[in-house]
Amino acid sequence: MDQQRIRNFSIIAHIDHGKSTLADRILELTDAVSSREMREQVLDTMELERERGITIKAQAVRVHWKGHELNLIDTPGHVDFTYEVSRSLQACEGALLVVDAAQGIEAQTLANAYLAIENDLEIVPVVNKIDLPQADPKGTAAELADLVGESSDRVLRISAKTGEGVADVLDAVVERVPAAGGAADAPARALVFDSSYDQYRGVVAFVRVVDGSFRHRERLRAMAAGTRFEAEELGFFSPTMRPTESLGTGEVGYVITGLKDVSRLRVGDTLTSEGRPAEAPLPGYKDVKPMVFSGLYPTDSDDYPELRDALEKLKLNDAALFYEPETSQALGFGFRCGFLGLLHMEIVRERLEREFDLDLLVTAPNVAYRVVTPTGETIEVHSPADMPAEFERIEEPYIRASIIVPKEYVGSVMELCNERRGRYGSLEYLSESRVHLTYELPLAEVVLDFYDQLKSRTRGYASFDYDLAGFREADLARVDILVGGEAVDALSLVVHRASAYERGRALVERLRDEIPRQMFDVAIQAAIGSRVIARETVKARRKDVLAKCYGGDITRKRKLLEKQKAGKKRMKQVGMVEVPQEAFLAVLNLGQEPRR
């Protein structure tokens, strides 16, 4: 296809603002599928392909409209994958910014819109759901126009549900989105904007050809990873897989690599031809690093091998997931896992529990810390238990939070951000009633229960998004929890010195209620180094006897004691203290349940 007739674009929309409905309508209108097939093909593809053992999901669909080739590129829908979103956007020249006429702009839309603007994409603003009775197309269009710096009448008003205005959207894509760029005669370069793993075909890369072209069976190289492979198959989705002989400049499609590990072909990498390699990769590749860490332990220690296998499988398809074995004296064998963010963590956890039927114990999430040791060495610490006792300084990751709220909640949101060591950024009225606030916050304060708090203090009206803002020095301390004088590794935390007492106190009190009385007094302490900052005592039991024991009930009394003995064995031993697993569970769940 002539490069001038290729348009590559994405749809940016908040969840439930109609992205998939609009995508479906576009497929229908371009005759990619009949509406009947539409349902069967698009929705059931996953199921069907799964039956055939293929699990590749379309990340880009090619359609034709008035003599043009349009590639609709899907973007991952959430905040932890900002980098992936940015790669998807980099593959495009334009984006539809879709906003629900009844809801207005949400923080996540805003974040992705800014990302698109940063990537110099042509933004086509679209107000959707204008058929809804509570819709405010005019107000929403004004908000949108303001955001993208266009006049209000350039904002399309559609209903993806009824199909009204969808043809105009396609026309606008052709007219407003620039033709696919790139040098046809330069050495071949393609941006990998997504990848997926199929158990039969290996890693499938989704690519945007920037320069030159790629041919079937060509030897290729991933420039950042240095991985070499043969293009076993080239093709595109329309909407099912269509193999082709080649992918030309500006085109979007897939490459089947036969690689067995997604980490060998990361998103953002550049593919080039071994025969005539490009000199430099495309800009913008980042080795994304996990920022949020947490220990995952099977509730039943017998499930450890299952957990390991499940993580291995997830990792095949999720290059950003990090895990390594970890042993906790309190929780047994498990894994320290690293995630891009809270949501990524939740997704992994949910998949492990749902798809692999595992019962998990998840330790309180913590962030990655950069610690400068007294010898001047910088180390990255992923677990509070690994935090050295002595250090020159600690740096922690900060985020730029973007929060949109109705104006009456601005006060409570600012209060929350200040409590969480936030640094005020800006305040801007999106409309008369809605305010866009930005704050810089330590990621550690966000992983705690920030989102839950935000929701509850704004009655669910706030929308929230963030991106990383780098590492900053902070006055942090490692708080250890000691039971009977022994530190419980799984319960250590790194907190800001100002909130150390409060957090330590809460943990200690909770543990006191959860640890059964023993044959001796049990001190439960929170300590920074050797300094105890909170202490509670579980008083020793004063009696524990089987009242009567005569000839007739020796057997029964023996069994009772054996049961008591077995109960002891199920307990986790912390020094001399027996702690039920449930106690750890209760403490670990102390307000640490991130939900979005």
Partner: protein, 385 residues
């Protein structure tokens, strides 16, 4: 007539005999023993069956018995003539104990017991407080308790034990102190003090289980109060729940319950009657609790249905530990190594709950400290390998 007339000597090794007399005037709410209410018409047949069972098992008994214990039920509720016939037919023994409920102990019954060789009577007092007796559904009044003890003393019985319960729903610490005071005033040779257990499935648990759970904390120190008061009054706390007058206050008499000591020392014993348990040479069995099948089998001269439990040496060793640690005398560790977790013993010593002792060339033994005895259950569970 003296006890032992009807008893032919056996040729086995068992020197302790338990006889179960299940009949009661009323089944108390908290009781989970094998009991039968009333059934006056069957007392005779039951005694016949007991004697038939004894005859079947006689070979297990030693030529001379050390102890016999008549428990229940309420042995003294058994019709007097049948009780007399039974006592007359049993073999002779050095200690013969009968359990009695206060309201059944008349001067006549006291005399009957005395004349039939009974040496020791254990009176089920439970409490001297009327409101607590009502909770327990006990029929006896405090006055009846006094009358019973006086009647036993009058016929010359000089080894009387009183059973007390503590931790009764609604029992205040002052109630407990008064009960202990009232019991001590009767100068019993022996006292058994049990914490009231809400045993699963009893009417009592149904009615009072929640209340007991609520009171648990308030009553936490009752066990300590009992031990302090009784040891302060010159009693020896010789077993978890049992106390006897110190020998030096009793002209050198050892007033521990010899029959029960046999259990705690892991001796063999034969039990006859419904629901009775025997442990003989590595086997334990429990006779059917069903009166009908018991009477029917023995009516034909056959052994009643029994539930057998093999007792491999490893289990016996564990039982030696759990029973032995209830006593105030050191438990020798010889032969029990496999049953004891020595690492746990070390921890318990560190906590001041147990002590290892070795005197001269004697075997190493273990004893619980006072605090260890208050936590005897947990300590034993810890100690068992």
């Amino acid at each position: 007539m003296s006890l032992g007339d009807g008893g032919r000597p056996g040729c086995g090794s068992v020197r302790h005999l338990y006889v179960h007399l299940p009949f009661c005037v009323h089944r108390c709410g908290y009781c989970d023993f094998v009991t039968l209410v009333g059934r006056a018409g069957e007392h005779g047949r039951y005694v016949d069956a007991l004697l038939a069972e004894l005859e079947l098992e006689r070979a297990a008994l030693a030529p001379r018995l050390e102890t016999i214990f008549l428990g229940g039920g309420t042995p003294t509720f058994t019709s007097a003539s049948e009780l007399a016939r039974l006592l007359a037919a049993l073999p002779a023994a050095e200690e013969v104990t009968v359990e009695a409920n206060p309201e059944t102990v008349t001067p006549e019954l006291a005399l009957l017991l005395r004349e039939h060789g009974v040496t020791r009577v254990s009176v089920g007092v439970q409490s001297f407080r009327p409101h607590l007796l009502a909770v327990l559904e006990r029929r006896a009044t405090p006055a009846a308790v006094h009358a019973a003890v006086y009647a036993l003393r009058d016929v010359g019985l000089d080894n009387i034990s009183l059973d007390l319960l503590y931790g009764i729903p609604g029992q205040s610490a002052a109630d407990l102190d008064r009960d202990l005071g009232d019991a001590l005033a009767l100068e019993p040779e022996h006292l058994s003090c049990y914490e009231l257990e809400a045993k699963p499935g009893t009417r009592f648990t149904h009615t009072f289980g929640n209340e007991l759970a609520r009171q648990a904390e308030a009553m936490e120190d009752y066990f300590e109060r009992v031990v302090d008061r009784l040891t302060g009054a010159g009693y020896r706390w010789y077993e978890t729940a049992n106390f006897c007058v110190h020998p030096e206050r009793a002209e050198g008499r050892d007033l521990r319950a010899r029959h029960n000591l046999a259990y705690w020392r892991g001796r063999d014993y034969l039990g006859i009657g419904i629901g009775a348990v025997s442990t003989v040479q590595g086997r334990r069995w429990r006779t059917t609790p069903g009166l009908g099948s018991y009477l029917a089998a023995l009516g034909h001269g056959e052994a009643p249905p029994r539930e057998l439990e093999p007792l491999p040496p490893s289990v016996r060793r564990r039982e030696r530990v759990l029973l032995g640690l209830r006593l105030d005398e050191p438990l020798t560790l010889r032969g029990l190594d496999e049953a004891v977790d020595l690492a746990a013993l070390g921890r318990l010593e560190q906590l001041g709950l147990a002590e290892r002792t070795r005197s001269g060339d004697a075997d190493e033994s273990v004893a619980l400290t006072t605090r260890g005895r208050f936590l005897g259950g947990g300590v034993t569970a810890e100690l068992l390998a």
